[in-house]
Amino acid sequence: MDDIDRRLVNSLQDGLPVTRRPFDGLADAVGLGVPEVLDRIQCLLDAGVLSRFGPMFNAEQLGGALSLCAMEIPEARFEQVAGQVNAHPEVAHNYAREHRLNMWFVVATEEATQAADVIAAIEQETGCKVYDMPKQEEFYIGLKLTV
């Protein structure tokens, strides 16, 4: 990877404009023609430095709901409650974490209204409170690999 490749890797992660010729600005910035820039990007994809290049979709804006939930479970009941929570097909990504709130999971439903039902059911079955922490605002999604 030379300096130009590095600049491409950094810029491509920030995003390209939605225009007829989206690579023109990038090519100008690095002082190359667009075909050469495209070749370099292909090499970076082939080398696995970058993977997918395209639109990044927001699951919630597509209509589904993703709600982060937490519970405080006494140690003695932990396995049992984990089983009860996991039994709900809408529960994804159930993790134990080091905190008083020691069980964290995501409730993924097709419609936003369904999440509340799932949460209520879990509370009833387990007798434990579910702390619902939905996304109120999203600031940025994405890791940047600055090379």
């Binding site: 920030d14 010729r21 993977s51 990044m56 937490a70 996991n86 990504h93 134990a96 922490m133 109120q136």
Partner: protein, 175 residues
């Protein structure tokens, strides 16, 4: 080159049912955009649509937040960034949006959200997932965020996951 800031998106309910043209575009771009000088022309030809319409639809989806950005994604996990921690911060409500944007813009923060407090047990309103090659690196990054927040930070913690509890389905073995 300045970074294209994603517009901040509220977690508001999305319309039910995708517009059929939007759905076509979403499907056709799951695998990524064609790597050509005029990728939307190629996409439009594939879909039998006018290129201006395709561009307008994609811009509209970006406005609505359905598309975050058109970008390349590096595979951090494959490159050794296996440590992560959920850092949570108690920031005054009046400053949380500005601070959230700053923290989200950090290279090693993958997800940054505003979430509700649950007092008194949970006083945190800002969540930032922090990634690094090692836990030590993650801890150092959290210290950076704390320094960035300065006096605006009323408290913070970093929660590490100890165990994945979710149900296991089929386990895949290479045969």
């Amino acid at each position: 080159m300045t970074r294209n800031q994603d517009a901040c998106r509220k977690g508001s309910p999305a319309p039910s049912g995708l517009d059929p043209v939007d759905r076509q575009i979403i499907l056709a771009t799951q695998a990524g955009l064609p790597l050509t000088e005029q990728p939307y022309d190629v996409l439009a030809a594939e879909l039998g649509l006018d290129v201006d319409k395709v561009i307008a639809r994609i811009r509209a989806m970006q406005e609505r937040g359905v598309i975050r950005r058109i970008a390349a994604v590096p595979n951090h996990y494959a490159l050794g960034y296996r440590a992560n921690g959920m850092s949570v911060w108690n920031v005054p409500d009046e400053q949380v949006r500005a601070i959230g944007r700053q923290v989200g813009a950090l290279d090693y923060v993958s997800h940054c959200y505003l979430r509700p407090r649950h007092l008194p047990l949970w006083p945190y309103n800002l969540f930032a997932m922090v990634h690094g090659k090692t836990r030590a690196e993650v801890m150092a990054e959290v210290e950076e965020i704390a320094a960035l927040l300065g006096g605006h930070c009323r408290g913070y913690e970093v929660l590490y996951s100890t165990r994945i509890l979710k149900k296991t389905g089929l386990r895949i073995k290479v045969d």
